[in-house]
């Protein structure tokens, strides 16, 4: 029997997330306001957060972990590593996630975007020296957001109620499912075996976490200092940001017209 590589354990994360989702939905629910207060009912429906008490517990747990682990790492990373080096590391991480983007572009039936992702992998992995330099952007293939949650959204799946998961943070049933699909469909998840491969895999996830956290360092500090209810503010920001990514993907679908034919005017 073939022994499964240690990196196989990673796809267990979505399963864990699923279990937590289930636990969260059972553990506690926000009480629905009485029907004779239409404004309050409208507000309850708008925030679409029936698991709010449980979500707030996880928010507090994540916040505590962030304060003692991730934020200090991000602060140190930003302090020690110059911006140029950080952006090169960011480029490498982005390049590693491009196969998943390409896969999602295809599932979204966006041939132009898929072509851009394909060219980004090709150019940045070779001329860009394993993704260190983002040559593709200069050559006319700029990066775009594309992930499993967006694919499901474009397929018409509703977002569902707000979720705040341990480690993963703000999400929704749709986006958590998409995240699981992304991890499972990422070729690197399944690539090779052995101590070196799996430790490189974990290094990548760790670096991604620090890189992402560093990029939102100032913004998150500002939210925590300025918001009266940081949890609600993050909920609103997360939803708006996702919606704008989805809208952009939906509208960025230029016609692929043969060169000899009248070209449609791009707005």
């Amino acid at each position: 029997m073939r022994r499964l590589s240690p990196s196989f354990r990673l796809p267990a994360l979505p399963a864990l997330a699923g279990a937590v989702v289930l636990a969260a939905s059972l553990a506690g629910c926000a009480s629905k306001p009485p029907a004779d207060d239409p404004d309050a009912v409208a507000e309850y429906n708008e925030s679409n957060d029936p698991a709010e008490p449980t979500n707030r517990v996880f928010y507090a747990v994540n916040n505590g972990l962030d304060t003692v682990i991730l934020r200090p790492l991000a602060v140190g990373y930003k302090y020690v590593v110059p911006f140029v080096v950080r952006s090169h590391i960011h480029n490498v991480l982005t390049n590693l996630s491009m196969p998943a983007s390409l896969f999602n572009d295809m599932l979204q039936a966006h041939p132009r975007r898929a072509g851009t992702s394909f060219m980004r992998i090709l150019v940045n992995s070779t001329v860009g020296v394993a993704g260190v330099f983002d040559v593709a952007t200069e050559w006319g293939w700029p990066a775009h957001d594309s992930d499993g949650g967006m694919t499901l959204a474009l397929w018409g799946l509703p977002e569902g109620p707000f979720l705040f998961l341990p480690v993963l943070g703000p999400t929704s049933p749709r986006d958590a499912t998409g995240f699981g699909a992304d991890v499972a469909s990422d070729p690197i998840t399944w690539f090779g075996q052995g101590v070196l491969v799996s430790s490189l895999g974990y290094t990548r996830y760790g670096m991604s976490a620090v890189d992402t956290r560093t990029n939102v360092l100032d913004d998150l500090d500002k939210i925590k200092a300025q918001a009266l209810d940081p949890y609600a503010t993050i909920r609103s920001l997360y939803r708006q940001h996702r919606q704008s990514q989805i809208d952009e993907a939906r509208s960025d679908d230029p016609a692929t017209v043969p060169a000899w034919f009248v070209q449609p005017r791009r707005p």
Binding site: E43, N215, L228
Partner: protein
């Protein structure tokens, strides 16, 4: 051959529709909004990048915001349905505090914006207002996409919202206030007290 010609003809017939013909008045208000944002961006960049003291910069920035942003309109929007339930005295207190907290939040970090520059994108109408897109470049950070929502409702062009990377400042602020209010028995007075607390803290 004939089919191709028909296709070509129908394609050219569709083009003006795709090009969104605008009435002269609307086109003019779009140009006006673009010019207004361009002027404002230049003023802000000039103040932020000037060799001035922090206090001097904050004061000048405050003057620009007072002139170009419909602060009262934004404040009313952020309070949402609770604006109607607030007493006139509370409304005045709230407007005053909102104004002060907004100024602290914007001008508090003015030192960090050294070297900022703006590149304007396209302008288009949206929901009774006009959106002017821009890219904000700051040294040491990745460029960010910022849209400015401009309204002529008060008679002259005023900024009524800033949408950074797809997130609206006033919508986010409104949900923050709404969540705070719902955890404090929908008491506008509790919100006013919290804002007073924020206004008394520097930065």
């Amino acid at each position: 051959m004939l089919t191709r010609r028909i296709l070509l003809m129908s394609a050219t017939a569709v083009l003006p529709v795709l090009g969104l013909p605008l009435s002269p008045a609307r086109a003019q208000s779009l140009d006006q909004a673009t010019a207004f944002i361009e002027r404002t961006m230049k003023e802000i960049a000039a103040v932020v990048n000037a060799p001035d003291t922090l206090a001097g910069k904050q004061q000048k920035l405050q003057a620009i915001i007072d002139r170009t942003v419909d602060v009262d309109g934004v404040a009313r929007f952020c309070l949402g349905r609770f604006w109607r339930t607030a007493s006139p005295a509370q409304q005045n207190q709230y407007l005053d505090l909102f104004h002060r907290v907004l100024m602290i939040n914007i001008t508090g970090k003015v030192g960090e914006y050294q070297g900022v520059s703006f590149v304007l994108g396209r302008t288009q109408p949206r929901e009774g207002a006009i959106v002017v897109s821009s890219t904000v470049n700051r040294p040491g950070t990745a460029p960010s996409k910022v849209d400015w929502l401009v309204s002529n409702e008060t008679g002259s062009p005023k900024i009524i919202d800033v949408i950074a990377e797809g997130t609206s400042l006033r919508l986010t602020q409104r949900s923050d206030y709404a969540a705070y209010l719902s955890h404090n028995n929908n008491s506008v007075q509790a919100l006013i007290d919290a804002l007073r607390q924020q206004a008394s803290q520097p930065g």
